[in-house]
């Protein structure tokens, strides 16, 4: 079954993806970007948010646009593309606000349900330990890579 997504403009290397979130009254430009960790170039941070005028992204706000399911599906598609182009890398992400946390937990939950056979999913605990992801457990951050 096909899930609704937005059309995505993407970089050739799979590190940057932009799309328009279309609401009843306005359109918001959003971006999903993958930034390497300075100390480990095999791990990338997934950052997602509205594109600011200066080209940075707002990593805290979640626009209330009644299109959360479409946005969620679109972000997940960018993760698939990232891994197709960068199969040896892994991706980490955390919510910088409670609403953003909910969004990322929903992404991980969907990936876990739909593609657990493809992905290794790890949970980063608040005590500084990393473990295999346990569904519905509260984590500081998540990490995902191909099995």
């Amino acid at each position: 079954m096909e899930k609704p997504t937005y059309l995505i403009e993407t970089s050739e290397d799979g590190f940057q993806h932009n799309f328009d979130s279309i609401g009843k009254h306005k359109t918001i430009k959003k971006s999903v970007r993958f930034y390497p960790f300075e100390d480990n170039s095999s791990v990338y941070e997934l950052a997602f948010g509205d594109i600011n005028d200066d080209g940075t992204i707002d990593v805290k706000t979640v626009s209330n646009h009644d299109d959360m399911a479409i946005v969620l599906n679109t972000v997940i598609q960018t993760i698939y593309r990232f891994f197709e182009l960068n199969p040896e890398k892994s991706v980490a992400f955390m919510g910088s606000s409670s609403s953003r946390n909910r969004l990322y937990r929903a992404i991980i939950g969907k990936l876990y349900d739909e593609s657990n056979d493809n992905f290794e999913i790890l949970g980063w605990n608040y005590d500084g330990t990393i473990e295999e992801f346990i569904k519905n457990k509260d984590y500081f951050a998540f990490q995902i890579g191909l099995k």
Binding site: D13, Q77, E131
Partner: protein, 52 residues
């Protein structure tokens, strides 16, 4: 690596490559830099539990 690539099925038709987008053109706000550094430091010091 090819084995891993074959496992991924997603809707490629929704993607259009824009040559103006690339990893060198992804500025970070101060707010974003803070959370990026936080994640980076966490990972640097993290201990993996029961992962073989």
């Amino acid at each position: 690596m090819e084995t891993k690539r074959r496992l991924l099925k997603y809707d490629k038709s929704i993607f259009t490559v824009n040559p103006e987008l690339n990893s060198k053109n992804m500025p970070m706000s101060n707010e974003q830099k803070k959370s990026h550094d936080l994640l980076n430091n966490f990972f640097k010091n993290a201990k993996k539990k029961d992962l073989e």
